[in-house]
Subunit: 572 residues, 3 copies
């Protein structure tokens, strides 16, 4: 069986609409709805008053309609009274500006008042519904990812650093604080990377993202542990992808009972490729964390439209089913939407929905019904991939620093290109985090992996020696996990000495001997124990091959066109 | 008789220049000058010291020269001592940054200290000059439009909301606060829409603009009432047009004795069309508010140059008179400039002036003299328009929300295009606010009018049934005045069902059956009781006609080219 | 002998690397290294603890290796403990945001605590090493240029203004405060130009930059005087060029024992021209301040790469020596780099270095060694220029105001173009500050010199009367040193009346009679006592010549193409 449904916010509608909802859900074969994500201000309208009557009623109705419930803790959107009572629990930007109520996700995850209020509502909710027959899944919070730089965060950041480094001297060493006289005499001198005069220390920035990920994980775990004392239902949260999110999802995948992602492509033209990537990534996280067959759930996507360049662009007839299949073919155990019924007002009143403003007579709802019938006949797909591409969120964060060798390296784009190129010839492609087992793949690609620990390098070597093929590109292994430069780190693995890391200017092209062109980067390579497979017109090596054990390691020093990249991957 | 003159700031010059000013004004047949707009720091150099001697002298000189005076209350620019004494009366941005002295218009209109200081100087000024023979007009404040988000504003905003909604539950309903858990338990929990985590509630934003408009109106009324207790001269203030100004000018038009606008076109190429639009709009506001013949005053424009793309671009020989005629032909009762004599220093030292830096020997001053002679022979023009286009400032504000169906809808541009297309064939065009009488027009256009109340829909229906023709375009009637989505709201009026509101991407074009192209938007139309006048090449209806009573309602689902739009309007 | 070397930060490396450093320096014939610039947190790890042992050891090692030392006071980068102890000494932006530790240069130069801490470390350092035999030069602070708008600055700014204007009425007159009611009753009402509602007063802005320059100079002088009580070695600081730096370097040139600049070109294509300009400018400052032969030192540049458009772009083989020669040919007494050995971590880990990450086996280091050998044979070059271009940093600041006649005037670009055009035919070109002697030049150019004092005008007249040739362009002499408009100020000098200052729009071109085109600007000229040398196709004069005494003054009313400009300068 597959899950089918979406976020359902009955509190936005009078109860007489609810009956219609159940009828329409059943017609569409909906079997799971996420309830309560943004309901805190309804469940606890005032600090000392709880109102769960309406939730009792709708859960019972859903159960009667044989519709399962993913019950959400509503902590991602505290009510106005919380802000009014606890201004000090609001998040603070780098520049010291304290945000206030008026949107969603406005809290500091480290504020004791927020932790206490979260615990209280979660406690109430989980004790009330632990045994509810409609309950299929606990959906903790929503799209974790809020930044904060407040004093609560400063205290917790220091504790995180103390735990990570032990002695401040270890931190000074790791962060190279002697540059620009940043040497700390004590952990207490460290603050979050707030607004400062000029460039910040990239190691400071990276560790702050690591810290925020852990801090949010602490909040998640608090809810999960409360729930587990009472309920047997699986617990998860919905991951949101994007460079601005300080969450290490590969690590979090170990903490959820089912990996769940929300996914919103950026354009109609690229939507299918983006969906395939996201699906293969969710499966990669799930697989690396030991979830059986890498199963995962698509918790949110948008029916029938893509938000592109400020336009809610219709994807046209038939696209709803195509989109869902793209995810389901890649191992999703369900296709869920945000949201069931379009909101009449509020910030996302124009967000697509299963029942759009045009209502049950609309083409969109008709397609939702048809898809429901299709899904009722399907089972979760089991995917076995023969190729993999590594995708490291810490590397993504590291590439965001403002003063690297090139600010034109778009890491997610480079990994995405690699994924698309692999998908042409591979049976299936896993997008894997660092640390995942590489056994069984015919080819593992490693594009622009800036950060490379000794462990990662050893894993790649072991994989190649055992007969695997590695394709590593420019921009890989420049630094270790503390962001300290590691000259020569990939020399042994690739059989090549990189005499100079050498980015190109935007628009600059290098003519290759095979008639192609290279852009973005062109390392100066000196093959030590590798053959040159492809060179530039001027003779500089561009692609090398190093035989190692039973396998081989290729090193690609530039960015090829999509066509050339696909052909290269097909060949090797 | 027409008013002719400009802002006159004698306090910037030694008194020996004044005599020269009077001579040059008389030579140019200047008969009205605005005095005192930025003179607060001269009139009240210290909190407890007033100095009106210089103003007495210049008013007497002007009167002797038979030059009338529009006497300004100087409250738009408080002196430095005000800031120093009352830091809490300075305006605060969304992000909490409190602004300080150093420019102009730096105050919170809701700060009690600002209200008190405004009252004191207005009291002094109005009692001293109420009977002055040079006095023709009271010019309250200047270009109202300052934003603030401070705590004074928060208090007044809550009072405004209490008055508007009565019970907080009404507000929750209107704002759809159940979305994202924004439900308020009490008005006291509401703040101005300050910096927050993510998207704000568009209804919150719109009501804040409505509130600011009312708050500023309160300040204006305070001055007007003080003045009226002593003086018979008419009272007004100068409206400034622009999307960033939170002033509902249609409403304010009822509060002034003469509608007055300042107008600065954005480029040389579009200046004439922009001037025509502004003039027809000022007349529309005046007419809708019951001012006889829709008469209005051009209080400021720039002589001989346009500020375009960061350049003070000369409009060349002869352009000064052309510009003035464009306004006067459309019903202005006078043409005034900012300013009389160019300032030697300060932020606007390069602003064009009637007497520029080059002095009385300049071409600009010679043209000013020639225009004065021409105007002395003219009378105010009485305009009777046979076509109208609706322009709703609340709709303009609503289109500014960041997360609509499309962020590429430029409402003022769409209304401006419609105005230009109408102007080709109509005798004259009124640009009308919502609520204006539609009787007597042959055609009323309603482009992209996002907000449509039931009252507006009824007025359009009544107008059409009585024999009028309505042209409504895409983007109209999506929401009501609380910004709640209203599916089907225009169905009865247009005879068309809009199956899907469907914006296009920038650059996307739809081929039309008549060889034209549509851009920006293409609703999916299902004619119910309307004929298709124009379709896309693929057959989708693009323009429909619904006969209703003695008239007709056209619905246009896309944006046509300027040429096609003009041809269409000429035809219908 | 020439100085050769770079910034050396041994504190970033274990001591076992130091021995290798000395060997590599000697191999490269390095004879001067700058030590201690960013070492404060090592020299004073805690408020009450100093540690100079490591500095003793490295200075001794360097001396043993016969490598001289430019010893830096480390005050440009206070340690974390300073921030933690003195949050009120951190700089504050216009918007009131107080910055914090995490980068470099994070302090308010006017904060008493920062002055005290600076004095203490400088005192300690200068007394300890005054007699050290390796000491060649004192390098005070680093790249002065930090902005601040805090309350300490407000107090000092008022003192600066009191000293400059004496009475507040003088300031009101100079700043034209009657515009927009900005008249001050007392100096105490004045603040730094903080965030305000709209445009600021340009005179306020300019005086604030003048103040910051003086405030930083006060900090520099404090260090210099302390050092001079103990040491005979020359004292300097390194100037950093750029429009954002509020330092009047021409004035500072009088305060240093050797003019020293840091220089980083903006692109590979323009690097040579930018280097030539910077060198001629440094020499101009030095010459005007009376330094013998205008000698100066290149304190920092980057070996083998240019930071262009976010890319650290290699300049390729051979470019290191070419770059150094460009500076040395123009009178530098040494070529120094930032930095000796590339940093493994920190914000500038990808900054080029003499010993790059690739180490002593790299091409870069090999080129450094070759250049060292070349320099050991060279002596400082003595430059005698026959042409000059004026470059006024106050004018550069003035052109940054947001509301001038045109915001498309890029003053440094216009001066740079003039410099390039001059360089084609002149033996050598001096880039001179206002006030420098003009005697001896065949041609003096004065492009877009917005601010012109009576003294400057007189100097140009005297120079021309004595037989010199002046080429002045549009945009010159619009205002005096208080930024008050001065119509007709250049009339006597140029023999031309400027009827209208008339900027052009971007993209707008004027066809010239000689087939060329003019862009950016086209004054409306009325020759009074000048011949028209070149006119536009429509007859408007574009270039005029006014014979004066034994010389001539040309006035150019537009911007020519580079080719036409070069040809014009060659001709006159």
């Amino acid at each position: 069986m597959l899950w089918y449904g979406g976020d359902y916010n009955p509190e936005q509608w009078p109860e007489d609409v609810w009956a219609d909802d159940i009828v329409l859900m059943r017609r569409a074969r909906v079997n799971l709805v996420t309830v309560g994500v943004f309901a805190w201000s309804r469940l606890q309208p005032e600090p000392d008053r709880f109102d769960f009557g309406w939730l009792d009623r709708i859960l019972d109705r859903l159960h009667t309609g044989r519709i399962g419930v993913a019950l959400a803790t509503p902590t991602a959107s505290p009510p106005p009274w919380f802000t009014a009572q606890h201004p000090g629990a609001m998040p603070v930007g780098r520049d010291g500006v304290r945000l206030t109520h008026g949107s969603r996700d406005t809290y500091c995850v480290n504020a004791p008042e927020f932790r206490a209020a979260s615990r209280a509502i979660t406690d109430y909710l989980s004790s009330r519904y632990a045994e509810h027959p409609a309950l299929k899944l606990w959906h903790v919070h929503n799209e974790y990812g809020t930044w904060c730089f407040c004093d609560h965060c400063a205290v917790e950041f220091r504790a995180f650093l103390r735990a990570r480094y032990g002695f401040v001297e270890q931190l000074n060493e790791a962060w190279c604080t002697d540059f620009w006289s940043q040497r700390y005499a004590d952990f207490d001198e460290i603050t979050p990377p707030r607004a400062t005069q000029y460039l910040t220390n990239p190691a400071h920035e990276l560790d702050y993202r690591r810290f925020l990920s852990e801090a949010m994980l602490g909040h998640y775990r608090q809810a999960r542990e409360l729930i587990r004392t009472r309920s047997q239902a699986p617990v998860t949260t919905n991951f949101v992808l994007g460079g601005w999110v300080p969450v290490d999802h590969a690590r979090w995948a170990h903490e959820v009972d089912l990996v769940a992602i929300d996914h919103y492509p950026s354009s109609v033209a690229t939507a299918t490729a983006e969906r395939a990537f996201a699906a293969d990534l969710a499966r990669g996280w799930a697989r690396a964390a030991g979830h059986p067959h890498g199963r995962w759930l698509l918790m949110e996507h948008a029916p029938g439209a893509v938000h592109e360049n400020g336009v809610v662009r219709s994807t046209g007839p038939g696209a709803i089913a195509d989109a869902a299949r793209t995810y389901l073919d890649r191992g999703a155990v369900g296709a869920m939407y945000f949201q069931w019924r379009a909101s009449r007002g509020g910030a996302e009143q124009w967000h697509p929905a299963m029942v759009p403003h045009a209502g049950a007579g609309s083409r969109v709802y008709a397609e939702i019904v048809a898809l429901g019938a299709e899904l009722a006949e399907r089972q979760p797909n089991r995917v076995i991939a023969d190729a993999a591409v590594l995708y490291d969120e810490e590397t993504m964060w590291a590439w965001q620093a403002p003063h690297l060798l090139s600010r034109h390296v778009d890491y997610p784009d480079l990994v995405g290109r690699t994924h698309r190129a692999l998908a042409v010839t591979a049976d299936a492609v896993d997008v894997l985090p660092v640390g995942a087992s590489l056994a069984g793949y015919r080819l593992v690609c490693c594009p622009a992996m800036y950060i490379m620990s000794a462990v990662t390098l050893a894993a790649l070597r072991d994989y190649a020696e055992a007969g695997g093929t590695v394709l590593m590109t420019f921009g890989s292994g420049l630094v270790d996990e503390t962001l300290r430069v590691t000259p020569g780190s990939v020399e042994e693995l690739t059989g090549v000495r990189i005499a100079e890391w050498s980015p190109l200017l935007p628009g600059e092209e290098v003519a290759l001997a095979d008639g192609g062109t290279g852009t973005l980067w062109l390392d100066e390579l000196e093959p030590l124990d590798a053959e040159t497979v492809l060179a530039a017109v001027d003779g500089r090596p561009v692609l090398t091959r190093h035989a190692i054990g039973a396998g081989a390691v290729y090193y690609l020093a530039t960015r090829l066109t999509d066509e050339a990249y696909t052909a290269l991957i097909a060949k090797i």
